[in-house]
Symmetry: D2
Subunit: 328 residues, 4 copies
């Protein structure tokens, strides 16, 4: 049985709490949050107890922590948990600083504990099936990965201020998908980006529209297009072109209803909200971690994946700022 | 708070148990099953207690019963529950005999309790949205309802023996959908049917392939096509043609992955299993019942809906047997 | 080289004229029409000559006639052409009277000439591919054929008066498709129909909305749904369910453009006009006739196909009028 | 009436010949080809005459020339035709050398004749509708144009030798589409490319797989992905993301038949051959030229479009060779 201490009772913490509580091999034991009423409400819902971080980490019955608190707390909590010998799930990113991530991962390694980083998309059933089909050679050798990733709307300026910018906050998921599907590390990054969506984003020095090209030594490429806006919903598509065919994951519509009339043949928009689109992914992500803990199944994505995705984000930023290609 | 006694710990009982346990206004109190280990396992999973039917109905803290046991027990349990003053959810059908259903509904009426009959498809998000669009006049007046309903495979002969036959067991869902979408009772039924799928079905005197036409006084029609076989998955489609357009609910694929290669452009099959296809429907069905109990929202589908669907099933059987149209 | 005399310079005659003129093995020699200016204009366009019917049939260099004139003239022209030893293409129907068709076909048989009846849909590339896939056993044994056939709008009352009614004018195409795909003659017909679209149609004693069920001795069935109205374009779909799968022909959209915005994901409507939807079919139909004449490839559809489709139409009418199933 | 002299009786010349001959305002007068039997066969088919280039250009009754001969002859023929005062249609490209194109266009300008360059895709009905929807503001301001363009297979090495390379031969169409849809000239080009498809292509120093990013001063971007291979057919898709929505042109399947069975839901592959995919585009392209000549409708695409697309191709090549972004 895995007794879990959950850090962070916000939106994403609530998702993980529900999945932990529903998992037959887990018990949600503790909830920790800087805002006590939030911790209390979540704890009550699942029969857990509100404690301090110290109490949770000191309790030897806790063998797994789930870190869903603010980004700024991630690296410290990972290190403390690792030192306490707990297995760790941490929402992305480990940290916004490469150097801090490297130090943190070194600690995790020293302590010999498991660390899963929350790149949830790898567990989306369609994306996972795409990756398995690729790995099984169904379309031969991968040649071009095309990732279209658009949020339905921009987050509030307050959030963006501490987000690390588009590449580290949003594209980082796409960098992870690109690495996962290319199965080879990119050797160069080129990013062209600007702010077309919201003057508030521009005012923050951030961007909202980007095209990023990743090139591998073998010649394989990935191209990512991002926008902080999509009037038609959350746009999450990936296609992989290979020597023997193409695999594509399309959007999931809100329902399968289609209306045909004088105005056209109107299907439903893609699901609008990421928590709806990736509800299955969050559940399967946690289940995969438990399977790793139980049976030694390889952990994926691990800390190294978080680090490499951040490296690509930093390179994209450098490329955009310099207007030139960045070699890795 | 609704304290629920669940009758039946089988496949469908387990679905409802999970939805009851997850509902914020419900508590799964008792599980009753003729096979004690099944009852015990399900009760343990959700912190409920195994009791006898009498104990459950005698407990005044129980204000809702969910009947998921064998068809043959439905009518008796409904009557006993009604007399005990409980609100009732009952899986379809109320009974295979029209006369028995009528008597049972009379008892329910006398006792003044709520009865919801489990025509789950009304709660499928796509189907519900179709019906709401129709009701909102989005395609003008309904003219033809086309229902395609095919099971991925035939049930075992053992089940079929007591199923009441294709029309009462499988088409009954389609009759309910047709009535719900036509918003007018059919005045004639014509059924052409035979056994093409499985000699075992023919040997039982049952059929596995059918086309049924329902005609209303206004001229509106519905046509249902059924098969006990669909190699490509559970085929559940409905389209409604109206004076100003068409609304169609298509199948839900198992994932959104599409592979294009020399063999064609291959999308995923429709979900294979009805519990997967209608998982949301079962959840929303139960939620709708609770909303009715809490706020007086109209109950739908009620006992009368169960009765009318069975009338259509009986008429279809009579039509098939006589080879002629049956007037209602 | 086939020297063709074309009877009828109207809308459908113009289509065939273009296909005849473009065919490498054909020459459009004569155009005959009761309205001389129409004949003249069409003849000029393709370097043909306007003549009388007698002149055309007396000219021994003419070895093929194409009959695209008014329905009432078909049977007489077929007989006269047959007696003159010409190969014959005739637009559907041969005649609206079964007895007249039988007499006409007897004459054709005596004269030993080729007669192709213009059921153009058999030559639509998608429909033809469906039939070939069926014939190749790709989905095992056929079980249910579902034909959805809706015109974008009703023809003028003037046309409807002499059309023979919905079943003989419009459904006759669907009866031909059903026979072609069932590969077995139906033994019973049930038609439920009414007028919902246009009071003018009702005033003429005709119908505009119908559901027809055809049943074969083996148990195979076909169900046809018709409407004289479809706000979203010409709706022409067929699906065949078999023991090992399903084959479906969907509509062809006017273009492949799709717009996604706040209102939904909007694809183009199906092609609106039958001459656009079936442009390829008309061309391939004529090419198939020429191939038959050149190489002895079996003629399909022949006069017998025209006769059988009319028999089904008459049976549907009798069923609708009696409210009962009609045995054949 | 436009009397046309056609240079080049090869594959693409035959397409244009058919469209010229079928156009009500045109007559195919002369066919010129270095290989006399090809010229003869094509001329006979449409009642034209085989002549020399000089004869054709000296004949004052010829008011339009269509240049479909080898690329190397284009610029000379354009200049000679311009000096002879003929209106000119020329297949892309005008020339592979920017300097030569500029000189040629200067001559055309001096002579004051019409020149249309054969970027056929602008006339594809779906692409044209996309561009009209954009121009009508249906999705607000354009933000990202995504062009996926893959040939079903690589051309023979013999052809590739004189093709000018992937960017000038194949991507040039995509550069034209990008310019046409961006409605703003790119200010920078980045190309990442390699040879993954065919060692013969690599041996020629050419590439077969590419990702190109175009960035405009306003921030708008276009991304093009190319491959000389697509096992599933000719892959020609464009999507434009704008401030208020998205417009996408999808592939056209070979037919609308879909087969569902145990292996999945299998739709037809995209049309394999460019002459089939763009048959309508070629016809409408020529019709648009004639409309320009008759009514003064603006010519599009003109020589300047050919020049700008070539500039982008040269910049892409320079970017690939230098591994850096190229500013324009």
């Amino acid at each position: 049985m895995y007794n879990v201490a959950l850090f962070g009772a916000g939106r994403i913490g609530q998702i993980h709490a529900a999945n932990i509580a529903a998992h037959p091999d887990c018990r949600l034991q503790y909830v920790i949050d800087v805002y006590p009423p939030a911790a209390q409400a979540l704890a009550e819902k699942y029969g857990a107890t509100v404690v301090s971080a110290e109490q949770a980490l000191d309790d030897s019955s806790i063998n797994l922590v789930a870190i869903c608190s603010a980004t700024i707390t991630h690296a410290d909590l990972i290190e403390a948990s690792a030192k306490a010998g707990k297995a760790i799930f941490c929402e992305k990113p480990v940290d916004l600083s490469l150097e801090r991530v490297e130090r943190c991962l070194a600690t995790v390694k020293e302590c010999g504990v498991t660390l899963m980083v929350g790149f949830n998309r790898r567990f989306d059933p369609s994306m996972a099936q795409l990756q398995q089909s690729l790995a099984a050679g169904e379309i031969g050798n991968t040649e071009i990965v095309t990732i279209i990733s658009r949020d339905p709307g921009a987050p509030p300026a307050e959030y963006l201020k501490t987000s690390g910018g588009l590449f580290r906050d949003m594209t980082i998921h796409d960098f992870d998908m690109a690495r996962w599907l290319l199965q080879e590390e990119p050797v160069s990054v080129y990013a062209s980006a600007c702010s077309l969506v919201d003057p508030a984003i521009k005012a923050l020095g951030d961007i909202d529209t980007a095209v990023v090209t990743l090139t591998c030594a073998s010649g394989k490429m990935a191209v990512i297009t991002n926008s902080r806006r999509a009037t038609y919903g959350y746009d999450q598509r990936i296609e992989v072109h290979g020597s023997e065919g193409m695999l594509a994951v399309n959007n999931l519509p809100e329902s399968s209803l289609v209306k045909s009339d004088i105005g056209g043949v109107v299907a439903q928009k893609p699901m609008y909200f990421f928590l709806q689109r990736y509800a299955d992914a969050y559940r399967l992500e946690f289940a995969s971690l438990i399977e790793h803990l139980k049976s030694g199944k390889a952990i994926s994505p691990g800390g190294e994946d978080g680090l490499q995705a951040l490296r690509l984000a930093d390179a994209a930023l450098a490329s955009m700022n310099s207007g030139q290609v960045v070699r890795l």
